[in-house]
Symmetry: C2
Subunit: 326 residues, 2 copies
């Protein structure tokens, strides 16, 4: 098959502030990479120009011939129609119904394939990262939001309308805080970075003493989840309690996923995954303890590709498309 | 392929109190059926003898030749290893590690295939019932327990350890009542038949007036979910409130499933599904209102095969096996 892993693919991971790009070798190595700012203010055309520019830039840097690249995979946030190549809605970019795959193809000598960023990262980890060899992999990203992807036998499972794996929008406490999706007590509203920071800030405002006040320069609104992790590391009580709540909520959410899907592997990435075992340890314990066997035998691991999961996965989208997968 | 839908299959649905059996035609029709009691007290051998006996009985009643039956599918409750044909644990039957597929094959002239009862019902509805034509079907049974099955492109998805689709054991309220699985606030502990009856009984014991007292012969312990439905039908306030809580919990659980899996169809069966639109209407409304598009476009329907979902699905297991699927 033309383009089966004998050739390179270019992966583009488009975010609201920056674009990560890379030429990915058939063994998953990023042979040349670059990160450039996303020119959101310039509108759709400027962003597409920037994507095409950085794709050419990494191809040049890698020194691969035009014919050695099978295609370009573009990972973008938010709802989309991957088959039509259209980004339905991306609030961070201000996009609505943008035919991104076609617009990018017109600017480049390679075919372009579109995919959801969390799906792409799941595919990247399944193919070359911590999900390698898994029969059923759930990938979870815990950051500003909580999202994910499902990979069954090496293939993405995207649901009937391309909207599966919205892991952050399962309700785990009907009396919990309102989520930006409109539901109440979603996992994202309880265990994301901002949710963690908000719970800490609320307690500072209520007058509780914590090292976080110093870390945040005296302004509770400046508290971040990273600061909560740092303060907990130094033994700060408030931060330790807030972090324990976050890991408990995340544990309940992951235990639910394990109960519903019965994966053999769960891989966790995103900003909060930088907390490492401080986050993963309690999640793993709760799943072992609360989920019935045999499902509780699941392995729970951090990502192996770090920040490259998305762009490596975007390259995988291009390989899949070139092999006739889409 | 030998046994592809040109021949009959026998479906056996084994429960703790009765066995439902039927010869199923390639178009899904049950051409001869029977229900016999499960001789649990007689032990494993007595139950296997009863299964073999009723299989022969329905084959005779259908008047099909021995060679016209491709095989027997046996659906049993609880955890199992379908590939090994072993029922791991079935508390209602008192079974542990019973090689049911082999024991049944030894008693019959046909090959036997084992499957989980909720998985079988899902497959039956997907193939011949309310799930026909669905790309991704979730089947949910709401009864004494809450379970289910996942069918993707006509194939069962059973997870990495055969334990997927435990839909009743997602935690939707961490402060909720203890579930028999050990977790707190599982959907099953909030929206099953016994959970519904218990909430009503608790209020009767607390002295609230309700028509349920009369229906239950003055003993709150005798209240059932069916009685709650009946009393709500007659305008009883307590019963109406309890039923509204059940439908709300069930709605939250189904909305979670729709968010996580993005199915195009959800089919609901089990004893509580007899409440019909009184149960399904509010669930449908909550999903439409709370789940983000496009996933909220999912169709939510009652089962079409009634009590036969399980045995028709068991027959489907036999067809799948004979076609080389297992």
């Amino acid at each position: 098959v033309r383009g089966a892993p004998a050739q390179y693919a270019i992966g583009l991971d488009l975010g609201g502030t920056k674009i990560a790009a890379g030429v990915v070798a058939p063994d998953g190595r990023v042979v040349a990479g670059a990160v450039v700012p996303t020119p959101v203010a310039g509108g759709v055309e400027a962003v597409l120009d920037a994507l095409a520019g950085v794709a050419r830039q990494v191809a040049d840097a890698a020194g691969v011939a035009l014919s050695e690249v099978v295609g370009v995979g573009l990972a973008t946030p938010g709802p989309m129609d991957p088959e039509a190549g259209v980004v339905t809605f991306a609030p961070n970019l201000g996009w609505r119904d943008v035919p991104a795959a076609r617009l990018l193809s017109e600017r480049l000598p390679w075919p372009c394939t579109l995919g959801n960023d969390a799906d792409a990262a799941a595919l990247g980890e399944a193919t070359f990262g911590a999900g390698r060899g898994a029969r059923l992999l759930l990938y979870l990203t815990v950051s500003t939001g909580i999202g994910g992807g499902i990979v069954l036998g090496g293939q993405l499972v995207t649901g009937a309308h391309g909207a599966a794996a919205e892991f952050g929008h399962q309700v785990i406490d009907p009396a919990g805080p309102r989520c930006r999706c409109g539901r109440q007590g979603c996992l994202e509203a309880l265990a994301s970075g901002p949710a963690t920071a908000r719970r800490a800030a609320d307690r500072l405002r209520a007058g509780e003493a914590s090292f976080l006040t110093e870390l945040a320069g005296g302004d509770p609104a400046q508290v971040t989840a990273v600061m909560v992790g740092e303060a907990a590391d130094r033994g700060d009580l408030l931060a330790t309690e807030v972090l324990a709540e976050t890991t408990r909520y995340l544990g309940i959410g992951v235990a639910n996923l394990v109960t519903l899907f019965d994966p053999d592997r769960v891989v966790i990435g995103g900003g909060l995954a930088n907390l490492g075992e401080r986050l993963l340890g309690p999640v793993r314990d709760l799943v072992r303890r609360e989920v019935l066997p045999p499902a509780n035998r699941v392995e729970i691991l951090p990502v192996a590709l770090g920040k490259s999961s998305g762009l490596v996965g975007a390259a995988c989208l291009a390989w899949t498309a070139s092999a006739g997968g889409r």
